[in-house]
Symmetry: C2
Subunit: 488 residues, 2 copies
């Protein structure tokens, strides 16, 4: 089988070398079925003369086609198009791509769908007010941080750049253990510290290593969405247990089987802000022991306490290695750091390390190096102290402004701690309330998104830490105007 | 109930404030059961006089205890120790911690255990030779990179610092789409690009969003360990299918049910180095369509091809949006960058974005900003070009040294591409062989770790890209001495 003539579009002014153009033209012709299996390509000498290109150009293009299996080049027998399955694909032109039916393969897994379905309202782009969890990005010492990071990046540590130490740089783990011992009463040595890329990464790792599909995990109700996402992502069964002004009440746990894990925010319940009482803490540890369960203590913003001193961590009260402690630098520094830490019981430390060797989600060494200096040189403690004062001011302005402008619809009261307020609202539909505010360009999260069981809280979760003092009043005013727009 | 006298150890020279010391001493006494429930603490005035401290100090300590629920402070009725469960915990002193039996809770989940159990031999710390996958860290422009990162960190982009764009900075996604279109024939717009913290993170995310426990995934045999880890981590069933000199051979797939996913390394099979032939590529896409399966194309080191030009990606041949393409900057730059990318089919892009909003594992904005400049300003293309020449030199030296020193035990041959050699060995126990070499302080991975089915390859997987030219000869000599130590 020989073609009448070979029309191959070569463009001598194009940047691509002629051999690449020739290869591509032949390949497209083969794929489109114009040169079927068994079709014999012209001899290199012939084609070179026909096209007016060097013979080496043709040879290179043929060799590339042969290397990829489009043609068979047998010495002496010339170059033939290989037998390529299937005709359907060969005939389909690039234009069919968009028209083709999308395969059912693109439905997510059940797990994936549960993750994609967990929607909090999307944040208003570029607007810090009043997104819960955002710290004061404008007060962070970005220049100092940039210098520390550049210094660390200029002198990379080991040739492996991180693969050697899947749980993090030893110096950073030591600095974190020392900080947590002093500030939070956490009892751990550096081998128990695991550097992770943020609180969410810590939750995901813990869920993946400890939960099998169908395992039960107790979560607070209302409770933190990110944690729920991590546990759902592992295929676990969420067991919501009501949290009140003293934290989670395990007497209300509706348990058929013992849970595998218990997830709590004892210092500052998310989102209510409650502190777990000592009685509840002891009950929690006791029940965990009875059940053979582990406890995840998410201590996400304990540094920001305005009245009393920060409560010691549950981890420090733990007598038999049941508590996994989780903290993050996203709130004490800025979210862009993408770093946090797990403190795991001694009996789990080596197992986590082995698993991390294969999953390998470590924090960039430049960031670990900069963090080590930031902690060791006292910048961290200084920044947290400064922020504590500023956030207290911001909270006062926020509460005052809400009390002034909300006309009784939003019941703002001062909170002892944290970076956001859970503000009960006089409405049956806090989702609609939040949508009105978001439509006015201000972030507001409905409290009801945090509830799983029947006792749904209604109101707004409003972050104030990330909003400069002078902007809070005007923005709260705008928020309240939107909130009051259509009664409720 | 009143105590005879209250012995509380306060140290006026200690750095901790007296109120904190007092709080801590009372708390310990309560937890140790020395002050049982109902025990009435002395009036603040009395204790202040007894201890010689200010009354406000005592009030602050009592308030803290009350806030945490250790005591009940009723106006007029004094301050009583609260009823605290359970006696067992109260009586346990801190000394018991290590003696306590470790709970069965600290066994990993099945998934977690399978991850922790997937052991490649641990790398020799600080030794780049001959760890597969390590690039030439010493040739990377660390100073330039540090400057780009510092510049990006000094001017943080948005107040949310990343939360707004869970799939990555738009400018970086555009730069990656443009690079892949030119270099790899990848057909995608920026909305299909998802920035992830490395190839492993990309595999984990894909597995989590697309695999339910029990779903089947076809993997190459032999094949990449990190991918297996990600799929096992999702509870999927691995279906190993033999890969030969033309890549995976799906005619040998032992399928009871259609798989959900197919994971392949078509440009450069891991670890054999084979290029998947065009026929196999078309068969693969065809079978995927028949099965309703998606394909993961892991293009981990396609930039390093020394003969012929890099083969176009499978993704560019895909007519109906079945291919998820995965790439990484860990091999083209340095692993410490911790960044890679997924190109997902259009029908999946929005679903991935929604799921990422809740799982939130994004790459630090400073690194994204620096990467954008590195790509846009041509540093990336320049670095890859330089490395390609150097790695080719390094491979030649490596192959020559092995042929000179291995005495026929190791059968090194030049490879067309990549950063490591799969070197067959004349041995029945390549694990023992690798252990002898590792004992001599040099990294060597047994090829048998990559095999799942019966056709086990035996030999060594040796990375050469990360080892300076002048060191390769002497290190190979040392490796061969260790390898030949006990005959075999």
């Amino acid at each position: 089988m020989e073609p009448p003539h070979l029309l191959l579009p070569l463009d001598r002014t194009a940047p691509a070398p002629l051999q690449v153009q020739l290869y591509e033209a032949l390949r497209q012709a083969i794929l489109a079925g114009r040169f079927p299996a068994g079709f014999r390509l012209p001899a290199t000498r012939t084609l070179s003369a026909d096209l007016g290109v060097g013979r080496n150009t043709v040879i290179a293009a043929y060799e590339q086609l042969a290397a990829e299996g489009y043609v068979d080049a047998r010495t002496g027998a010339g170059t033939e198009v290989a037998a390529l399955p299937p005709d359907r694909l060969l005939a389909a032109g690039p234009g069919d791509r968009r028209a083709a039916n999308l395969p059912s393969a693109t439905t997510l897994s059940k797990r994936g769908a549960s993750l994609a379905g967990l929607r909090a309202p999307p944040p208003v782009p570029g607007m810090a007010a009043f997104q819960p969890g955002l710290p004061a990005v404008e007060l962070f010492p970005h220049t100092l941080w940039a210098d520390l990071m550049a210094k660390a990046a200029r002198r990379p540590l080991a040739p492996s750049l991180g693969y050697d130490e899947p749980t993090g740089e030893p110096a950073l783990r030591r600095a974190i253990a020392a900080y947590l011992a002093a500030a939070r009463g956490v009892n751990a040595d550096e081998d128990q510290v695991i550097i992770v890329s943020g609180a969410q990464a810590g939750l995901d790792l813990t869920a993946r290593l400890l939960l099998d599909p169908g395992d039960g995990i107790i979560v607070e109700d209302p409770g933190y969405l990110g944690a729920r996402a991590a546990f759902l992502g592992s295929g676990a069964n969420l067991i919501p247990v009501p949290a009140d002004a003293d934290g989670i009440n395990l007497d209300l746990a509706p348990l058929a089987a013992a849970p595998r894990l218990i997830y709590v925010t004892p210092s500052h319940q998310y989102p209510t802000g409650a502190t777990m009482s000592a009685a509840r803490r002891l009950t929690l540890l006791d029940r965990a022991a009875q059940w053979g369960a582990l406890v995840i203590e998410d201590d996400y913003d304990s540094e920001y306490r305005y009245r009393g001193r920060p409560l010691p961590a549950l981890q420090g009260m733990d007598r038999d290695g049941r508590v996994i402690y989780l903290g993050t630098f996203s709130k004490t520094m800025v979210p862009g750091i993408r770093a946090g830490y797990l403190i795991v019981p001694r009996a789990l430390a080596e197992k986590f390390r082995l698993a991390l060797r294969v999953t390998g989600h470590f924090v960039p060494p430049a960031i670990q190096g900069a963090l080590t200096r930031f902690l060791e040189d006292g910048h961290f403690a200084r920044h947290v102290r400064r922020m504590r004062l500023r956030y207290q001011d911001r909270q006062e302005i926020m509460v005052g402004s809400l009390q002034k402008h909300a006309g009784g619809m939003l019941l703002a009261r001062p909170a002892d701690a944290g970076m956001q307020l859970a503000v009960p609202a006089d409405t049956r539909d806090d989702q609609a309330l939040a949508r009105r505010i978001i439509a006015a360009g201000i972030n507001a999260r409905p409290l009801s998104v945090y509830s799983l069981g029947p006792g749904v809280m209604r109101g707004l979760h409003l972050g104030y830490a990330g909003v400069p003092e002078r902007l809070i009043g005007p923005l709260v005013k705008r928020l309240c105007q939107a909130a009051l727009q259509r009664g409720n």
